[in-house]
Amino acid sequence: MGLLSELIKGLRVTGGTMLRTISGKELVTTEYPKEMRGKPQRFHGRHVLNRYPDGMEKCIGCELCAGACPAKCIYVRGMDNDPAHPTSPGERYGYVYEINMLRCIFCGLCVEACPTEAITMTSLFEFSTTNRQDAIYTRDTLLMDERGNVPHMFPDDELADMDELNTADGWLRATAPAGVAAYEGIQMWQSTPGPADWAPEPTQEARDRRSTEDEPDG
């Protein structure tokens, strides 16, 4: 009778699983295009070129991102700003900016290399295309407009979530850019693409006060 009791034990496992699945307690499947799972905060998605709150482009065309890229998928050419109508606050601006998304490995090294936080990553990952040309993102597609809205390659697609493009890279949020622990949580770079809606950066005086308070030795 050992055989029979083992059989019943096994049947209880599968039968119980069935009941729990039907009642929805054990069902783990997410029916992907219908329901989306939340993404981790530091998700590495498609890139975006940022602007300052006053509308100036952040990119200064220094090509450090292209140099840092291990997949060699970024191509940048800088151009001198027109002194009367500058595109960026610096001397030059990114006049050609291309990322080949088929080569990109989404490591985020370009974001780390950028001295002005001009390039950041969003959490968008649904950008499959049916031809290779569409996978090469140019300046027109990468750069946000003055309102902070990022162009979507396929705005009519049912998966296109425009809000997703406006979510900033978590790396910027979680780290004090200055690298000093005392500055953690203080907004020093604009971490969200688009016009800012937070309090202005603290003045140098306030910063000094804060650092001496936190570090009595210094």
Binding site: L7, G10, L11, V13, T14, G15, T17, M18, R20, T21, I22, E26, L27, V28, T29, E31
Partner: protein, 368 residues
């Protein structure tokens, strides 16, 4: 045979055939859905609501696919084998009464393909014949895996056919005591299971009148043996050594594709349904059940027996699926051990025991 009788026969066969096909289509879908639930998955959900049209979609796909014929096959047998699988599968169900007979004018329409007076023997014959399809498919494919599958099928079918037959014999013997002499007609066996046990044993009437007079209650051991045997007969897990994907690719149907493969597939699911229907007929009282003739409108109480029959059959079909989701495949020697060392002695012992009890009840103790 007059014309009305002829048309009634046609109607019976067409209705039975249609019921079997619809049930099979639902079975394939239900199995995938139930297995999915038992494995915390969703299962087919694209074609139609809850994926119920999945079988239709699969069937259409298989119908339009090329039926590849490998170079080394024995062509005649290779083409014949799928038909040999399908035809007995359908013929078995033709014996099963799936509803209460009703009247059109002054002609009685029995909801049953054909009521043979040797129905059970016919079923045994057909289920033995179905094995030929597997063996011939395995041999004629001219390839080693199908051959292995076919050889396994012969041994398996012989060992479990015996247990199934012996379990049936005890039911027939018992059923002979329930009416006027022995019978092999399924309609008659169902008829003898109507009512409750309260009618038979008046002393315990208040309790027993709620227990239906099904053969499963006195013949529970025969039912268990019969169920194991039909799982093995239909080559279902855990006895699916004939197909055994992990060991011998697809077994006997490795070299089949397109519509020819679909026919083997169809035969398997038709067999599940008709074997379950036979289990329900022999042991669970067939279409018997309370019909509430006075309380309900006429056509509802005429339909209820069919509903009871389908419910009972699907309980057995569900057991098939449940066991498939639970048990791993038996090894070949374990299969033989279970068949020859447990089931056949068990069935024989049960047969002897129930014969003694029946004889004792009928003739009294031999020493008196």
């Amino acid at each position: 045979m007059s014309w009305p009788e002829f048309w009634i026969v046609v109607l019976r066969v067409v209705l039975t055939f249609g019921l079997l096909l619809v049930a099979t289509i639902i079975n394939v879908w239900a199995e995938r859905k139930i297995l999915a639930d038992m494995q915390s998955r969703i299962g087919p959900n694209r074609a139609g609501p809850y994926g119920i049209l999945q079988t239709v979609a699969d069937g259409l796909k298989l119908f339009f696919k090329e039926a590849v014929t490998p170079r080394k096959v024995e062509l005649g047998m290779y083409i014949l084998a799928p038909f040999l699988a399908v035809i007995p599968a359908f013929l078995i169900f033709m014996m099963v009464p799936w509803g209460k007979p009703f009247m059109i004018g002054d002609h009685e329409v029995a909801l049953q393909g054909a009521d043979l007076n040797v129905g059970l023997l016919f079923i045994l014959a057909m289920s033995s014949l179905a094995v030929y399809a597997v063996v011939l498919a395995g041999w004629s494919s001219g390839s080693k895996y199908p051959l292995l599958g076919g050889v396994r099928a012969t041994a398996q079918a012989i060992s479990y056919e015996a247990a199934m037959g012996l379990a049936m014999v005890s039911v027939v013997l018992f059923s002979a005591t329930q009416g006027d002499g022995g019978t092999l007609s399924l309609a008659e066996i169902v008829e003898r299971q109507s009512g409750t046990w309260g009618d038979l044993i008046p002393a315990l009437e208040p309790v027993l009148r709620f227990i239906p007079r099904w053969n499963v209650i006195p013949q529970i051991v025969a039912f268990v043996i019969f169920f194991v045997a039909i799982v093995a007969e239909t080559n279902r897990a855990p006895f699916d050594l004939v197909e055994a994907e992990q060991e011998i690719v697809g077994g006997f149907h490795t070299e089949y594709s397109g519509m020819r493969f679909a026919m083997f597939f169809l035969a398997e699911y038709v067999n599940i349904f008709s074997m379950s229907a036979i289990a329900a007929t022999l042991f669970l009282g067939g279409w018997n059940g309370p019909t509430f003739d006075q309380a309900l409108p006429g056509f509802v109480s005429a339909l209820l027996p069919t509903v009871y029959f389908l419910l009972k059959t699907y309980v057995v079909v569900f057991l098939f699926f449940w066991i498939r989701a639970t048990l791993p495949r038996l090894r070949y020697d374990q299969l033989m051990q279970l068949g020859w060392k447990r089931l056949i002695p068990g069935a024989l012992g049960w047969l002897v025991l129930s014969t003694f009890v029946i004889a004792f009840r009928q003739f009294g103790a031999p020493w008196s």
